[in-house]
Every structure is written in structure tokens, then in C-alpha cells.
Symmetry: C2
Subunit: 266 residues, 2 copies
Amino acid sequence: MTSTSERPLILVSNDDGIEAAGILSLAAALDPIGDVIVAAPLQEMSAVGHAITMREPVRARPWPFRGPSGQITAHAISGTPADCVKLALNKLVPRQPDIVVSGINHGPNTAVNVIYSGTVSAATEAAILGIPAIAFSYCRWGGGDFEASGRIARQIVQHVLANTMPPGILLNVNIPDVPFDDLEGIMITRQAQARWEEEFAERVDPFDRPYYWLSGTFVNLDEGTNTDLWAVDNNWVSVTPIQHDLTAYRAMEVLQDWDWSESSEK
Amino acid sequence: MTSTSERPLILVSNDDGIEAAGILSLAAALDPIGDVIVAAPLQEMSAVGHAITMREPVRARPWPFRGPSGQITAHAISGTPADCVKLALNKLVPRQPDIVVSGINHGPNTAVNVIYSGTVSAATEAAILGIPAIAFSYCRWGGGDFEASGRIARQIVQHVLANTMPPGILLNVNIPDVPFDDLEGIMITRQAQARWEEEFAERVDPFDRPYYWLSGTFVNLDEGTNTDLWAVDNNWVSVTPIQHDLTAYRAMEVLQDWDWSESSEK
């Protein structure tokens, strides 16, 4: 909710890097409804999880970022997505943004993949500070058309600005790879239970030294029809509220019932 | 719970690197109660969050790792803590471990810091696969004596092996920096609400280019007496069950009540 009559201030970040098509689409889609500032990694930063840079300095430089109706203020940053949002909120914005958005990611961030996602970690940094935050992902790994996902992003940002976000959460939005008119609508979802059946290819380098390369197959273990995976597979836009408090509250009671006395020490 | 009469297989990792004092203490403390295999980063990997290495290969090499009663099988790995556990579970262990432990971290992993923690991410990789997993941290940033925390780690591993972990969770254990006899006991806790008041030092490099360096002050916003921060401040060993399903279930209903129709599009 904007407290004044001025246009909302919208901070935009991502993990695919400042030159990715997805962040250009997101900034362009939001430019008509607010004042947009981009702060994004200079380099591609996928699968960095919630990494932050502490042992080294971080650099920021102005970046020529052209939206459909002219220049958009933008900063290219030498760090991770979390660094970008931290630095932007501290040093690069004129006032606290009304909303922080991240994406549009090239590829889905569903199920267990959320914990590896730089796109989500950028939004999490804002949520921790109580700023409404949304991570957007387009369920296609390369290429494609960001037109529909840009429109969806603008709609969802407007809904969030018009409502009050529950405290301590952010929205993780996944948009199916179909034309806008084929989308069924917006579905509030939970993270599907899924996992990677991982494989490490074992190879030998030109100097006869072994190395391993991670690959794998994604396996959905969840038959629910209210999950992020079900939604995008059925042409719904998936909106999952996610939290940064990782406490498993329901497990606390189970653990309190264990006998924690030292007697088991041999 | 071990299903056979053989000694439990215990995989040990960390984020401070294979040469850290904390992982040596952990492996040594567990050596008497099981068959220990160490798989840890070659380099210090703090604050990498849940990063995984996909664009580059990962290398593993045998490492001379000496416990109090002789050699412990160990592998030094070129990747992140999550990489170490993934690779070890796929390629380096003779069978699925009975438990995966991470640490002992040099410094606490409490409150919001959990999301940046490589120590926790190593344990999370095992929890996703349904393997009991524990992250151990010693609440002291440098130096100190790992004797008490090693004893505590051994006790907690024995409790976990003797019980059945609730599904989908891992234990995040923080051990206060006091002698063993001054510890009050074990407390099941939740993550405290807290945040960093961040600052970026602005400096200029020898080539007259500006750079930023992250620092900040940690602020506990939580007055609860069942939090991880309260426990360690009061000489209790904090055991927090944490989950990798980030869904904010309670927020789902709130969001379902929003008007998500397109009418708000300008």
C-alpha cells in the first residue's frame, strides 16, 4: 500500500544478470505503474542460493538500461542477488521502495528448487526488512516470449500494492509457458514435495585428473492439486507464499517428547 | 535408527573447510560411535547459502585427516557445502549414511542467519533425501575450545540415532561458549525474529574507483524465551527443528481471500 499519492518506488533485481531478457521485460512491464530502479548482478548468478559477499568488496556502476519509454535507472553490481538488494536498499535508492521484485527468471523456481534460487533470495532480503517482495519465474529455460509473464507480473504487483502482505512472507510466482489468453488464472499454492535424482558424470581432464559434473532428473513426489508444480502444469499462474523463518513448528513437540537425558552416552 | 547391528555410517561435512578445527573436533567426537567419512570443502565457504555448482566441474581428492585414534577417511572437495554432501552421497560413500552431520561451525547459526549458512545447507541436502541430519555450531567466532561442543554433538547424534526424526526436517544445534559443566541442558527452540541493521562502508580503491564493504549490527527483535538466541544466551544448547519446505501455510488463506481479478489493471 502506498502511503502517499506519489508513484510507487519499485526496486527490480534478478539472478540471471542485468543483461538478461527477463529483467528487461520485468522493468518494462512495471515502468508504467511506478518509478523503477534496477539493481542486478553484472554476471549470471543462478543457483547461488542465499549467498552474500562479506570477504570481498562489492562494486556498483551505473548501467545503460533502456525500457520501451526511455532510460530506466539501473546499477550493475559485482555480487550476488542478495548483495544487490542489500546494497540497493542501503545506498542506491532515494527512499524505501514500496515493493521489491526479482526476475523474471529464465526457468521455473518450484518445489525444492526454491532453496537454491538466487531469484528468491533477492526477494527474501526485502521480506526480512518488512518490504513487500515478489520473485517471478517464467517456466521455460531459454528463449520464449516474456510478454505474458510481464503482464502477469504487472497485475500481481498491482494486487500486492493494493493489499497488505501477511508479515514475514514473500510471494514466489511461477508463470507457465503459454500465451496470455491460455492462462487459467492465479492459484495460491504450496511448494510441491519433490527431489532431484542426482547424477555426477565422472570424467577425466586433459591432464588425466578426474572430475565430476552434477546433473540429474527432477522427480515430483507430490500428487496434490494445490502445489506449484500442479498449477504450472495445468496453465495456472502459481503464487506460493514463502517464509524465511525455517522453524518446523510442528516438529518441536515431537522433539520435546524425546528423552534428552545423558543416559544414552556410552 | 540403524537397521543392522553394524556401526552407524556417519558422513561429516562443514563450511569452514576441511582444515578447520571444528570439523576435526566433530569427526573425532563421532569416531568412537560409528564409521566416519569426511567430505568437506577444500576452501572456507562461509555465507555461501545453499549454492550449488552446476556450470563448472567439481573435484574431490583424498585428504590426510587424522583423528585421535588414527586415520579417518576424508575427501577435500572443490565446491560448496551442498556440493560436498551431494557428491559424497552419490560417489564417495559405500552405502547410504545413517546420519549426516555438519560443523562444528566456528560461530553461531541462529535466527535469520540460518538462511545464509553453508553449515545448515550441507545438512539440508541430506534431509531432502530423508537422511537424519544435524548442523552443529559453536557460538564463538574464533579460537576457543571445542571439547564441550564435541561431547554435545556426540550425545545429540546418539539421541537422533536412537529415535525417529520427524520427516522433512533437520536439527540446527547451537552450543554456547561455556565449559561442559556450565551447560544447563538441551532446549528445543524456534528461530528468533531478528535482523541485521546493515551498513556498507564506502571506500575508494588505489585506482580511484569506489567500492562497498558489507558490515552491520545484529538486532534481536524477539522477546520470547523459547528462541535459539535466548537459549544460547542462557547457557542452554539450542536444538531447532528446521524445514526445507518454505511454504507459509498460514498465509495461504489470507492470500486466497484477496480479489485476484484483473480489474485492478490500469
